[in-house]
């Protein structure tokens, strides 16, 4: 499955390319086992120009640090002007990768962007805050992570899906990106030592409240029992 958060990043890249209309291209970069090829193909069907896949047992099982190191090396080899990411993945939900990529690439990092514009060699975004937004800008090349408020990702058209079959997906292995440190499961600096299932929440009490006042009273009674009131 294509991470839904990444769809916003792809859409933002495609919209920027269409707006700039200056020959800029959109390259998809993905660190994924070979089985992830169809997911990359979907991103191409949305309209990206080409793709680079880093697939290697040596990077499998990487922690955040290892993922950042391997992805940054892969991205650097593409000499991008702008790197656009989602804010997080739906499985690990750390939200840490954009900042780590910026640091590893040595690029300015502009995270949580809900708008994105590029002009005169600079990128300017509205960064979401808890109470509004701040406008921040930086010189290119830069890393930007976009939020779900940034856009409405397009569905691949039939033409796009057909066209994607002809687009290039470059396959890279760890040796191709010149990794000098051990990543993957063995090199992880956050090492999984235990995996447990939490106790399931059981079904609680159900109160029918045709009379709203009785319903409210039932809640207050419950809150008192639990010492909330």
């Amino acid at each position: 499955m294509l991470n839904p958060f990444d769809e916003y990043a792809i859409e933002a890249a495609l919209q920027l390319k269409e707006k700039l209309n200056d020959g800029s291209t959109v390259t998809i970069v993905s660190m994924t086992p070979a089985s992830g090829k169809e997911i990359v193909r979907k991103a191409l069907a949305m309209g990206a120009d080409d793709a680079v896949m880093l697939s290697d047992d040596a990077v499998a099982g990487s922690d955040l640090w290892g993922t950042a190191v391997a992805l940054a090396a892969t991205i650097k080899a593409q000499s991008p002007d702008l790197v656009i990411t989602g804010t997080q993945s739906t499985d690990a939900i750390s939200g840490d990768l954009p900042g780590m990529l910026a640091e590893k690439l040595g690029f300015p990092g502009l995270t949580y962007a809900r708008t994105l514009e590029v002009a005169d060699g600079r990128v300017r975004v509205q960064r979401e805050t808890e109470t509004g937004y701040m406008t921040i800008s930086a010189a290119l090349p830069a890393v930007v992570s976009v939020t779900k408020s940034a856009n409405e990702p397009r569905y691949p058209s039939l033409k796009g899906i057909m066209g994607a079959k002809k687009k290039e997906i470059k396959q890279l292995a760890a040796a191709d990106i010149g990794l000098t440190v051990a990543v993957g499961t063995g090199g992880a600096k956050a090492q999984l030592t235990d995996l447990a299932t939490p106790p399931a929440r059981s079904k609680g009490q159900v109160v029918q409240a045709p009379d709203p006042a009785e319903g409210a009273k039932a809640i207050v009674q419950f809150l008192k029992e639990r010492k909330f009131l």
């Binding site: 499985d91 640091e103 690029f107 300015p108 701040m134 992880a188 090492q191 409210a216």
Partner: protein, 323 residues
Amino acid sequence: MQNVIAFIEHKHGTIRRSSLEAATQARTLADQLGGKAHAVVAGPGAAQAAETLKKYPLDQIHVSDEDRFIDGAVDAVESVAKAAGPSLVLVGNTMIGRDVGSRFAARADCGINADVVDFKTDGGEVSCVMPKLGGLVITTCKLTGSDYGVAAIRPNVFTAKETSGAAEIVQIASSGKASTVTVEDEIEEAAAELGVEEASVVVSGGRGMGGPEPFTTILKDLAEAFGGAVGASRAAVDAGWVSHGHQVGQTGKTISPQLYIAVGISGAIQHKVGMRTSETIIAINKDANAPIAEFADLLVAGDAFAIVPELTKLVRDAKAAHA
């Protein structure tokens, strides 16, 4: 790792609660590891924040006056970490906290654990406990292979506790560097309010609210009666009734308040994963057989538009009686 460094997030000197939780937890962990508890505060208002921090059980409070947004904070944490030696860096799992923690981890080539709800120490080793896949699994990850490590703690899980601290305030020398990111302006669109991540009580509305109005009236009133925050399901956010910052669930925030009140929310899996670790869950729904009945501690089936205002009144009365 021996020492613990809490990165303190603040706005013009007012510290976020998750950072006070980090400062308090820094002491607990430093005692277990046999090291010192440090706090790092940077940016405009840092000196004022440092005064507040004096009430917390820290050994040293490091203050950087540099106004370089994330860059300045990361540099400050880095300089303190270098001077302190092997240390664990604690940040709140918030937008700013994640930015600072992740960049420090990349710079220091160390491990980072996000959304931490518990710690285990063994000698100088630190392991972090984190719910993943929306709380469907609980993982434990050991920070290893580096003198440093980063943990982003889930707000509202650890306790913030003032003590008679005797921390020394230490000024961090200016780096003289320019910021790579220019802050052009900052716009407040909503009154500063407690976010759903940090509130101990969250009152959320869903599709059953039928429009934007309840979010600023009956739900807000109930949340305020508890001193809590208003949340929302994806359906309500996608309908444009309330902003994304309020969204609880898979594509929103994952929260663990003490009390979660779901109003007109069916309890689809994508919402459930964002709030299932709440301590107590109450649902108010017209359908007694909605999926949320399966995991709510109490479901009251009835007319939310009538029950919620009545409940608000009773909560206010009960609070007033105790005041």
